[in-house]
Symmetry: C2
Subunit: 284 residues, 2 copies
Amino acid sequence: MTGLQADAAAPADTVVVAAPTVRPRIGWLDDNLREAGWSIRSAVAAGARLIVLPELATSGYVFATPEEARASSIRADDARLRALSRELPDHAVAVVGFAEVAGDQLFSSAAVLSSTGVIATYRKTHLWGDEPRFFTPGDAAPPVVSTPIGRIGVAICYDLEFPEVPRSLALAGADIIVAPVNWPVVSRPSGERTPEIVLAMAAARASSVPIVISDRGDLERGVVFTGGSCVISHEGWMLAGEPRSDHLVMASINLAAGRSKAAGNHNNVFTDRRPDLYPRLLHQ
Amino acid sequence: MTGLQADAAAPADTVVVAAPTVRPRIGWLDDNLREAGWSIRSAVAAGARLIVLPELATSGYVFATPEEARASSIRADDARLRALSRELPDHAVAVVGFAEVAGDQLFSSAAVLSSTGVIATYRKTHLWGDEPRFFTPGDAAPPVVSTPIGRIGVAICYDLEFPEVPRSLALAGADIIVAPVNWPVVSRPSGERTPEIVLAMAAARASSVPIVISDRGDLERGVVFTGGSCVISHEGWMLAGEPRSDHLVMASINLAAGRSKAAGNHNNVFTDRRPDLYPRLLHQ
């Protein structure tokens, strides 16, 4: 085995990430899954090796009834979800938001796919707005998943607005955090970014970890989505996606750059922590 | 006692806050203390009832030697610090960064003053850059201080960049967080805010708590300070201070608005937390 082959098998330090959007239609589950496949395929063709699709990409978001949400849900081991992994070359990963059914319960979930199939799923733990009408919150913390391209932390939408979540993912060793989201437009002063992006930029810098967000940018049953897909560096700066992203957002990220957690010549955003002073965080 | 008098004695829901800057000179301790008094007096005259001065406002920052830092330090019960409180009317509060000496140790501290004197002090717990050459980190968590105008959370400069700190202060009941800082200019992409402000905006919104930052904007021994003084609403938006603040930053803040922690019609940034999922935060 040559050195070149060994390098090819090791996780790359630099990865091209993409956040293609989708426009799912509620009730058109098979069409939505097919569109998800096309989105992954086009991102792969453009060179991406980490592809993040929005929250509930296969189902749509604005359900009228629990029955409609149930009809839009699939099991985590559904063959159609597994089929999406066949769009991926070796050493590539996709993260796809989907409505998951498990027995009597529905979850807003994310599947982590490699060319070998579904390698992990995560069930959203912080539910927003009307979501509790349709979904049960997950009871397992957002995970860090070892993949062919590195350790990927996964959070879904509102999860990311709790500073505890991206911080915990980074402390658990995430090289990068990915967040499938559905961000309805919220009010903000003229000239400001949508506030969810401000929070994500801060989370990235605070923990020296890059973040990829995949949002919708379309209109569904009167809800306008923000089009907030973006790629944020480990220093908290925008690499791609501004100001509004309706289509394919892409950037190259150096996963090694954030790993030292260094801040200037003297500081380190992890070892400078004083966890003995933070007991309040574990209380409700 | 009339209702009007009772109202006057209760904490006001709306408070005018000010972050006057100062330009201390190392070695000119008495002059610096006098300038701090003038800054408080002018902010009070302008209507402010919460006045925040920068970190190390009475000493300067860029010390050459530990001996110089020691000569610039005062005890927390120094009469000259207490004298600053006499600039305050009833129902007003000032927070002043100072170099504190206590036995053999020096601390980068903040004093919370009311018209009755020094009501609390806090010793910076997260030290930045060269500061460990001069200062010992405090061993008590950033405090929430009950004052005539409300519960004030206090953090100093680098403290605020740990998401755990503003979150813990808000969870401990802070109506407002104040942060004396000395922010040397750091690189940032064109058109972006200084990153410390991005982190502060995110911290304010994440915990629905307003934040007041008092920075220096001058030049000291080759270090250029950012002039980042600002007032941030509980929704994370700039109320005053942009883009660069060399003098007196002022705004009126409704302290009641952030207290419900409501986010939209269905959510609450505190009760939606899942502390059972955050155990990693208490580990180093």
